[in-house]
Subunit: 395 residues, 2 copies
């Protein structure tokens, strides 16, 4: 299996978008989001201060890129045509050149994911509607995102392949973890060794549109020892100690898709209090898994998990909702949050990751990547979840 | 030296912003950009689907964060106060909670870097002016960016420290490069070894507000062999071959600041054609260095470099402008581009990186991080630039 979306699949994506254009009476669509452009073409255009975009008229795709990306896009393929501008800021603003291209093609009604390049790294520029007229540009920022929420079989296969190599990276991470070692050494070597194994195994079938030095990764996210109580801690140079609780994260980039695997590991014989919180966290995850089924709302799942926290006097240690969608980006909408009333559908992929954070003590969180199925849910990540499997031996 | 901005420096940053607020008759400023927030507080708040922001009234700073970031921000410090919302999307939208906070403080005239959280990962939300009224919110997207364009002595010191460790990472990269080796192995080991040395050398003085597993990095950016002709190539698994031209990149994250070091290396005895293009590229860089001085415009420098390309029949191999500003972000405005008429000032830091890209043959680019001084310019990156120093021996 080639680890990328097939030409047939990309055709289906474009067909789905063409239907939306027809429904809305639009002549063409102009996309600036790298995600949206990827979804139609399989091509990932890097966002810098130099604008990149894609025109799609229901038949042909035209990439809009700076000179320095022309040969790159030619080599990668995926679009019918390339239009380039010399440079940004340049003597003529790229948005003006893009607007002229649109006018030359007699596109009267244009849909856009944003009205002009949204920008990065200090980019400044006018909107497209400044050139084309307000009435001719319709902003549809969520159109592609809406289509992407339900994953296709091919997308699920790429996410599963990501889970496989994230699993290996995590296995190395656990194998290399021992008291006295520095976190960056452990995580870098685990990521390198997993990436090496992955690339040697799948060979030329491997593809990452975004590029990646070590496409399979595992690390600690700064959640080491007492720091594990802080969900988004950021550190670089912690040493693993006896008694530490560690919250990990692992993933792999495959064909533009990712997965999320997180585990709570304990260094040395776990203390009673550690065991109790660990087991409660695992149970909270089970509550979520049981609640996930087609037709339930994202909010329903989170409400059931919150009820579990309340019943077990854990709300003092609650810090975030149950999870989020995942696939192309590491976090996607909808969210397993009591404020998100969207409904679960077969083919959606979410993370299940309720956590328990005890200040000045430790944090406990597993995260699994979960597919919504006709019958309920299926964990795509398969790393052991039980405490015994996640204890790091003392030296 | 602590490798982070001092409290005095951050005070100066806030003073500069307070003056701008007074000039504009604003009661307070609300910032959403992590860069802008960092500039006032030294605190880096991660942008996810959960909004983060900062209120600054000319005296006090108030962080606006989700529950899961409260203890993190408390631990990091840097703000006078923290206001939190439970979760996103949540039962009440975070922007509504933020707007209420602003109203409670009787802030009549509010400046913002964007009118509401700009969003990431599927975030959706209203603007602040929907709650506060259009006339009460003034968008100032470039205010902090404008102040940051001229770097202070402390900022320059952090950029210099970044150059030092980027240099070491590049040294390891060159040492480890040999025909037959895989790029990811070379770059990962170079990055790990340089990061280890850096962290062991500077110890607890090291600080990276954004976090980093291997804070010093070096790699090939996909520009290997014929691929070196593509400025923004993205690969993961190339093998180094005899005769390859390699375009590298190295940097290190220090106290929130970065630098850029890029070199062209040649594997084995260089061919005549390789030598000619290499020497032309080095000369183009010299032309830029000579043109950089206070009072010259960014455009002037680029025009002189373009004139050099034209005079030497190199425009067929031209793909991008001369360089960009750098400091907090890897690319910043203004740009060394003939369309950018802003003026160079002492304390500005830019990259000088004219490149020569010969399709189906090879690409040639050095990049140096350069400080604009009273007298002209000073290269902060100091890795050798001559061909002899950049040849990888044959096996």
């Amino acid at each position: 299996m080639k680890l990328r979306l097939s030409e047939e699949e990309l055709c289906n994506h474009r067909d789905a978008v063409r239907k939306k254009l027809e429904e809305k009476g639009l002549d063409a669509l102009c996309l600036f989001s790298p995600r949206d452009i990827f979804y139609l073409t399989g091509l990932y255009l890097i966002q810098t201060e130099r604008p990149v975009g894609l025109l799609y008229d229901g038949t042909n795709t035209t990439a809009f890129v700076p000179t320095l990306e022309v040969e790159h896009v030619e080599k990668l393929g995926g679009v019918h045509e390339i239009i380039s501008y010399e440079e940004y800021p340049g003597e003529k603003h790229p948005m003006e050149i893009l607007a002229e291209t649109i006018e030359d093609r007699s596109i009267a009604k244009l849909g856009v994911d944003s009205d002009g390049y949204p920008g990065a790294y200090g980019y400044e520029g006018p909107s497209l509607s400044e050139f084309l007229g307000d009435g001719n540009v319709e902003e549809l920022p969520r159109m592609i995102e809406g289509i992407m929420q339900v994953k296709t079989d091919e997308e699920v296969e790429l996410i599963k392949e990501s889970c496989r190599w994230g699993n290996l990276a995590h296995r190395y991470l656990q194998d290399y973890t021992e008291p006295g070692k520095a976190e960056n050494e452990i995580s870098t070597m685990a990521s390198l060794d997993a990436s090496r194994s992955m690339l040697k195994t799948v060979g030329d079938d491997y593809y990452s549109p975004k590029g990646a030095t070590t496409p399979a990764t595992a690390g600690f996210r700064g959640q080491i020892g007492k720091g594990s109580a802080i969900p988004h801690a950021l550190t670089t140079n912690e040493t693993i100690d006896e008694g530490d609780v560690l919250v990990t994260g692992a993933s792999a980039k495959v064909g533009g898709y990712v997965s999320e695997l997180e585990r709570t590991m304990i260094v040395g014989e776990p203390w009673k209090k550690q065991v109790q919180f660990f087991e409660s966290m695992v149970k909270a995850g089970e509550v979520a898994m049981e609640a996930i089924e087609p037709g339930a709302s994202f909010a329903d799942v989170d409400r059931k998990v919150r009820a579990f926290y309340k019943k077990n006097d854990l709300m003092d240690y609650w810090r975030h909702h149950t999870g989020h969608s995942i696939g192309f980006a590491g976090h996607e909408a909808p969210y397993l949050d009591r404020g998100d009333d969207r409904k679960l559908e077969p083919g959606m992929v979410v993370t299940v990751e309720p956590g328990i954070y005890v200040p000045d003590f430790a944090g406990f969180r597993h995260s699994d990547t979960v597919l919504v199925t006709e019958g309920g849910s299926e964990r795509l990540t398969y790393y052991p979840r039980d405490l015994e499997s996640l204890v790091i031996p003392s030296r």
